[in-house]
Symmetry: C2
Subunit: 262 residues, 2 copies
């Protein structure tokens, strides 16, 4: 899965994307933070912000723009309307377009939320010698709606979506330690061990396609997933919402290590 | 400085306060998190929430209530209108009352913000063998407006207020490590070493009264302070605002260790 973006600087990658490179960002600009995007009309911004503050594990906020602003402080010179390779536009909860630029959809009353993504902690896991199965299998991480309720805020309510990575027994503690250092990108696991305890059948991912292999010496470990705020926002059937398309994230100028606590 | 609250459970302490004990909460209910309070009309809640999210070191949010709600989830059965020993009520930036209960001031459109306080990390410092000078001197921690600008949000803008604790050279790294574990209560220092570098004359605290002694083997270390959001909100001369009175905090049922990252 080589990509034109792999060996780019973040600045060059955003320029290539702005010029039309509509490719996934997995593996792009190694070492730099990528972010999920949610854009909402101002009318919904307070409740959504409160929802994120109350649910920091699935919704770790990296930045909230002013209304109508489109440059991210995490990437000077960026333009959130053009610098993601693919967007999803929803009206009343229905996906109506997947454009490569927001030229036709942007309006001045939109607030942009940039939310931490698991790419950062997966990079830290790999560096710590913890294997990441879906990367080995070249597939998308399996994701599941759990039975864990988010703390509601106004109209926003729903269950935590979690991603699962099988971890060898002797590396489970290490996986907790490494990801705990990154509270800005989902942090420590939400569950370790028994998928049914959080209402999950691991053979049936709801998002992300195929299940991954779990070996007999491995434990399924679940982390809160950035799909949660999108799923929650979509389920409210808001008149208008824009998100990144899955796997097509915003690449920032911030290094992964910059997000590490301690 | 013995107090009737010292050996109480948080539940009993809040009941005593509700029944009229108008005493400072320093030293009360050892081991439990105390919180700063800011109450604002809904009209200002979004911008203030955004200000806190953009400035997590001076404004670490522990909880944001729904509009009109007065029970904190950090203390089931609590009533934020009666369970702090003393409040400050501001109109257009002027202090107009310091009541022991909000009976006459409460309204349904208020949103309450509970913000982390340094008592938690001071307890952790002491347990790690790091001395805390103002506690030794039985005085209030000296606080200073620094030259560090907060990231503005809407009408809310201003400079970081920092508290200073002199730390022996050989314990500076330990003090950073210990407080880094508590991002929910101001986290790691904002400055170590040269007060003038952040525009501070240590002999002239602006808040908190007397300067503390700095010995020749000690370094002045500054942490972002929860006075910041109050100072910023006051300077906007909002039509209406309520805060806790200095030193008269909200005592929660949450143990300090519960806030520790890693």
């Amino acid at each position: 899965m080589q990509s034109v973006l792999d060996s780019c600087t973040p600045q060059n990658a955003r320029q290539l994307i702005r010029d039309g490179a509509a490719v996934p960002t997995a593996g792009a600009c190694a070492g730099y933070v990528q972010a999920n995007l949610v854009m909402l009309p101002e009318e919904y911004a307070y409740e959504f912000l409160l929802f994120c503050v109350r649910n920091p594990k699935p919704c770790p906020l990296l930045e909230v723009t002013d209304k109508g602003a489109f440059e991210s402080t995490l990437a000077p010179g960026s333009d959130l309307r053009t610098d993601l390779p693919k967007y999803r536009v929803y009206r009343h909860g229905e996906l109506v377009a997947q454009p490569h630029s927001l030229e036709q959809f942007w309006s001045e009353d939109l607030v942009s939320f940039l939310i931490g993504c698991s790419y950062t902690f997966e990079s830290a896991l790999l560096q710590a010698g913890v294997p990441v199965r879906h990367i080995e299998q070249c597939t998308v991480v399996p994701m599941y709606t759990t039975s864990i309720e988010c703390t509601p805020a106004g109209r926003f309510r729903g269950r935590v979506v979690a991603s699962m990575r099988p971890i060898p027994y002797q590396l489970v503690a290490k996986a907790v330690q490494v990801t705990s250092r990154y509270p800005g990108v989902h942090g420590a696991p939400v569950h370790i061990g028994e998928p049914l305890h959080i209402g999950v059948d691991v053979t049936k991912p709801e998002f992300g396609g195929q299940p991954v292999v779990i070996h007999s010496n491995e434990v399924p470990v679940f982390w809160a997933c950035g799909v949660t705020p999108q799923a929650v926002a979509t389920s409210q059937r808001l008149p208008f919402m824009i998100t990144h398309a899955p796997g097509h994230m915003f690449i920032t100028d911030v290094r992964n290590e910059h997000l590490a606590a301690l």
